[in-house]
């Protein structure tokens, strides 16, 4: 298994480099063997098309080239040269002798430099690919012309985008959206992880700069006595993993049990029961979780009830609590357990739905033949139903685990503003015992503007998630299986 995985991963990487190699080889051949106009396309991108009378394409390419050059001259030169330092001129008021007033100087905005430089890099990278592609295309046209083949008119070219190049038409906009709203932000924050962008270095009044791996060192316990990030990171990571493990396992098992219970032939009105359970997840989480949080508040209704039946007093007597209420969501230990229990409430109906779907698609012929062969219901369950269920839903365990590592809603809505930590070390790093890495990250940015550490934590979350996914990678990505049932 391990060797097989290695091989396929190696193949994937090898294939990737092969593709890149092929891409450049084609380009080299085009440059070496191209005629004058193909070579001219290196400088004037429309040349190859103009020679083959594809004038509209030639104009489009020329305009594109001009636009990128204009973009580089008018825009990039203002930011990219400062990328190495992220700016040196601090914002301050200076006296302007012309207007006799104090005005802002021409200062550097570190964040703008970072962001706009990054945008320039992405634009240049894209343009570079187009540029190479353009030369190879010009060469292809040259070959076609030499062999006397038909050269497409512009209308015919456009038509290919409805047919064999339809995928380009389909993918352009979505990919553009993903690049702008996911790729660039992720790259940006990876860069921020290597700067000292925090509350003391907030543009526009202050500058920030590159600090190398300092932030990572700080997260792993470096930075002297004043730094508690190392301790906090271990604590928060520990709880994140414990939470992800228990929340995934409890909802998975609970969901399967519940679906078996509901889909049992003894059940009267299965549809009614299913609906009742689904109602709890159909209510938006920000309503249901905020409600539950008040339900279990220190002075809330559950506490009133527990006091009335004497539970609070009894817990006091055996020393589990020292307050006059049960601190369901406000003390460590209690809060941890409650969060997992409340998550069962939210998560089990989801799993129940999925498990029900699988149960309904059980291979009926197998069960039938097993029954004819005299298998008891219990045997059928243990030998057919369960293995089948595990086979189908097993991979979702991994995705659910990753999802739970990033389960912001449950933790934030249940504990924000309710839970206050008494652990000074955690408080110094703006964390709490019940925080997941993502809620910690969120608080660091939204309330404390500590972007550098938040970015480092984000990268750590990514690494953890990828390790877990990579372990299950070959099973989950059905890339090789997808065509077997088409």
């Amino acid at each position: 298994m391990a060797s097989k995985k290695k091989k396929s991963a190696g193949q994937a990487i090898g294939g990737f480099f092969k593709a890149i190699g092929g891409f450049f080889a084609e380009f080299g051949k085009a440059v070496a063997k191209g005629d004058f106009f193909t070579k001219l396309s290196l400088i004037w991108m429309g040349a190859g098309y103009a020679r083959r009378k594809q004038y509209i394409k030639a104009i489009i390419m020329t305009v594109l080239e001009a636009a990128v050059i204009w973009f580089t001259v008018a825009f990039s030169t203002r930011y990219v040269p400062k990328f190495g330092t992220l700016g040196t001129v601090k914002a301050e008021m200076i006296f302007d002798p012309v207007t006799m007033k104090n005005i802002m100087n021409d200062y550097d905005h570190s964040f703008k430099i970072l962001l706009y430089s990054l945008i320039c890099f992405v634009v240049w990278f894209t343009f570079f690919i187009i540029w190479i592609k353009n030369v190879t295309n010009a060469y292809k046209l040259q070959l076609k012309a030499q062999n006397g083949e038909h050269i497409n008119t512009f209308i015919e070219d456009v038509k290919t985008y409805k047919d064999e190049k339809f995928h380009i038409t389909l993918l352009t906009l979505p990919v553009l959206g993903i690049v702008i709203f996911t790729v660039i932000p992720i790259l940006l924050l990876i860069l921020v992880a290597f700067t000292n962008y925090d509350q003391n270095h907030m543009p526009p009044t202050e500058l920030f700069t590159w600090v190398g791996f300092d932030n990572f060192a700080r997260l792993f316990g470096g930075g002297g006595l004043s730094s508690t990030f190392g301790y906090t990171f271990v604590r928060v990571l520990g709880w994140t993993l414990v939470w992800a493990f228990f929340s995934t396992l409890t909802t998975y098992i609970g969901g399967i049990l519940l679906s078996l219970l509901i889909n049992n032939r003894r059940t009267k009105l299965p549809k009614l029961w299913r609906t009742l359970f689904v109602v709890t997840i159909a209510v938006p989480q920000f309503v249901s979780l905020l409600l539950v949080r008040n339900f279990f508040a220190n002075g809330g209704i559950v506490n009133t009830f527990c006091e009335a039946i004497g539970l609070t007093g009894w817990l006091n007597d055996i020393g589990l609590i020292s307050t006059s209420y049960i601190p369901f969501l406000s003390a460590p230990g209690w809060a941890h357990v409650m969060i997992i229990i409340i998550n069962i409430w939210i998560g089990v109906p989801y799993q129940m739905l999925i498990a029900t779907g699988v149960l309904m698609n059980l291979p009926a012929d197998q069960i039938e033949s097993a029954r004819i062969d005299g298998a008891k219901p219990r045997q059928i369950f243990a030998k057919i139903t369960m293995p089948y269920m595990l086979f189908i839903t097993g991979p979702t365990l991994v995705t659910d685990f990753v999802k739970n590592i990033n389960n912001f809603n449950v933790i934030y809505l249940l504990t924000e503003g309710v839970y206050t930590t008494t652990n000074q070390a955690l408080a110094n790093s703006q964390a709490k015992e019940v925080d997941l890495l993502v809620t910690w990250l969120f608080r660091l940015t939204q309330d404390y503007y500590n972007y550098k550490m938040a970015s480092v934590i984000g990268i750590m979350v990514f690494i953890i998630c990828s390790v877990f996914t990579l372990v299950a990678f070959n099973r989950m990505i059905k890339g090789d299986r997808e065509e077997t049932f088409q």
């Binding site: 940006l188 920000f286 990250l441």
Partner: protein
């Protein structure tokens, strides 16, 4: 025979008990919304005095609670992002499922990697990008946030398209159909369950979401809010004692349409997802 009847009875009793536990908080939400008292009732499960005045109050906006306005905001945002996300998702799903081209596998691998980054992380940077273009505290910005990256969520729709027999597409191609014609005239009509699922789920996202709206609409202008942050604000420590019941009433009103859509969606979800998975 008798023991069998008893077994059935206990079986259903167990279900009833479980369902009861599951439904208690929702029932509390419903009952509290009919209370005449403004703050939290902590002493009894049922309200002392019943009244519908908070439902009436929802439609008489004040400076804090502007429920009709929030509802309209969320509805507009949901409609736009639903159209864009559905298009993007189906486009990517079709291209990766039915068509074969050189960059297909690499693109899918990149999508897997991108999906592993916590959404929160990119959202913080998206906030800055939007701020540079003056799109924070702006509904257009929020629509973009909900829909621009929706192409990454193509896997479920792709799983469905994968089950459409390839022979069908091949036959159409031999008959001279272009890819775009196959997409619009064949695949789309065949894929009703997954389209309904995608439409409903992308329409629901802005109603269910809370974090992204909180990050983007951070100026505290109540008339701009979506329902989720509006209701969240009502439970602020300084407001909770005068707005808790109103929160419950708003929560019930918003839950009714969402629940109906959700029920519809889960039917198609089970049809579209497990149907495809099981055949594999």
């Amino acid at each position: 025979m008798k023991s069998k009847g008893l077994k059935t009875f206990f079986h259903n009793l167990l279900l009833a008990v479980l369902a009861f536990i599951w439904i208690i908080p929702i029932a509390w939400l419903l009952f509290t919304s009919f209370s005449s008292y403004d703050g939290i009732n902590t002493s009894s499960f049922f309200p002392k005095e019943w009244s519908i005045k908070h439902y009436v109050q929802l439609f008489q906006p004040d400076t804090v609670a502007q429920f009709p306005r929030w509802f309209l905001n969320t509805f507009v945002i949901a409609c736009f992002s639903c159209v864009i996300s559905t298009m993007f998702t189906l486009m990517v799903a079709y291209a990766t499922s039915v068509m074969r081209f050189k960059m297909r596998k690499p693109l899918m691998n990149v999508a897997v990697i991108l999906n592993l980054f916590p959404g929160m992380l990119s959202m913080i940077a998206v906030y800055f990008v939007l701020k540079m273009f003056n799109l924070t505290n702006n509904h257009l910005g929020l629509i973009l946030v909900y829909s621009a990256s929706s192409g990454l969520g193509y896997l479920i729709a792709k799983g469905f398209f994968d089950t459409v027999p390839r022979a069908l597409c091949e036959a159409a191609k031999i008959d001279g159909c272009s890819e775009s014609k196959i997409f619009f005239k064949m695949i789309i009509p065949l894929s009703r369950p997954i389209i309904v699922y995608t439409v409903i789920s992308s329409f629901l996202a802005p109603w269910m979401d809370f974090v992204y709206a909180k990050i983007i609409l951070n100026a505290g202008i109540s008339s701009q809010y979506t329902v989720s942050i509006g209701l969240y604000r009502m439970l602020d420590k300084s407001l909770i004692n005068s707005y808790f019941t109103l929160f419950c009433a708003g929560g019930i009103l918003i839950s009714i349409p969402i629940s109906i859509l959700f029920m519809l969606m889960q039917k198609f979800y089970v049809e579209g997802v497990t149907g495809g998975a099981v055949k594999g």
